[in-house]
Symmetry: C2
Subunit: 244 residues, 2 copies
Amino acid sequence: MSGAQIASLCGNCPECKHDCCFSDRNCGSSHIFGLLTPDELHELMDNKRQIHFRPGETILKQNTPLTHLVCIKNGLAKVVSEDPRGKNLILQIIKSNSIFMAGGSIMDDFRHFTVAAITEIDCCFIDTNKLYTLLTRNSAFAIELLKHSNEQHLKMLSTLINLTNKYMPGRVADTLLYLKNNIFEANPYNFVLSKQELADMSGMTKESFIRSLKEFEDSGLIHHSRNTIEILKENELIEISKNG
Amino acid sequence: MSGAQIASLCGNCPECKHDCCFSDRNCGSSHIFGLLTPDELHELMDNKRQIHFRPGETILKQNTPLTHLVCIKNGLAKVVSEDPRGKNLILQIIKSNSIFMAGGSIMDDFRHFTVAAITEIDCCFIDTNKLYTLLTRNSAFAIELLKHSNEQHLKMLSTLINLTNKYMPGRVADTLLYLKNNIFEANPYNFVLSKQELADMSGMTKESFIRSLKEFEDSGLIHHSRNTIEILKENELIEISKNG
DNA sequence: ATATTTAATTGACATTTATCAATAAATATT
DNA sequence: AATATTTATTGATAAATGTCAATTAAATAT
């Protein structure tokens, strides 16, 4: 965690609602915090610090005690399951304006994976104890968090099915489509990720990923240069994804 | 669903608390319902029906609308992700006395997998609308459900890692240990599951599963006959599981 | 009891995927 | 700019896994 700097301190002033990652505008994708009263919001924000991370830095480390949740204000992060033998699996890419629930675990538990910065990141940490206190008082907030938890669960399920039931081409297609449609939302898109990371998202070695990518290129489905991928025939990629 | 019979109707009488699957004793493993007041409990139980299923019957079907949760009173069920191409993956075995949250999805959604009876099953269905109403009123209940959801999420994560990061022997070892320690809690144990189902739990074909089982037998790690498995050297199986 | 179906097992083989090694390209460092 | 270091790519090969077909055993129906 060396290198992380405290960028700004967010106090109890009403203004901060618009500036920090708790505002609708920022962590708004989950619109969870919109259900809190101003008082509740301030309670949660009290002592909150916004932290800056540089690419590659670890934000949360697997197996450390879970005392805070993280809320990404801007930047891109990866959620990695670290294997004792070094086989990493990237479970998810986190975008700006999203709250990350530490893998479904809310209270008094250990983190089940590592979160690391891909780009420059501003994020803040939410004390789980404070969150817990609010949950007991505000059931609408609790329900919303439950829904969010369920959404994450279903995404994980989808990942599980994709990775276990498909051969490599299907998994590579899934990764390429996921990056285009869910993360970068552009075509062509620049990926900040290394080929190793793309392979870790697809559950294979980097060599296999590269070979698969090359086949797609040769078949005219995509065009890729070093850090750019353009999807030329999305429908065919979707077919490949479906057929496994 | 033909063949399912209504075994008994659980009314509003106080006695039913001890007999139906909502009581601490029955769905007690999640102790979730213990947080409801008697009135709330009755509200949830109103019109509840206890249904009997026979082995092989479908209890919940993937892609159908999610209107009820199911609570298994006794018996064994499997949670299956059905793939369009027929590659099924068994995500979980559900034991007696457990509540099943339909894969993390609580409200107005479709079921993301099928639940089918392995043995004879008594279970009851809980109206999600009623559940939702209670959640808004009883935040302790909501939090408990959130915790339950998180537990399920972490189990799914563990399954995901096991299936994607391990070779066949590690996956087979996981399945055998899971059945012994989490499901049947006996050694040797009788498994009601077919070899195809064991393979579906391990993410491989039945032929591969059988071959792997045979290797374990030849190495003296297990002893198995048609419907029985005895784990002889659990520590070595654990090693195999760890090493992938 | 016999016939019929279903599940389990085995073997041969093809396909998929990983591993290892070598090289090339890009990036960082001096 | 030159060197070192990391990342990307390619090829050859081995290992892992799936597929298909045949056989046996068991379960169920007749």
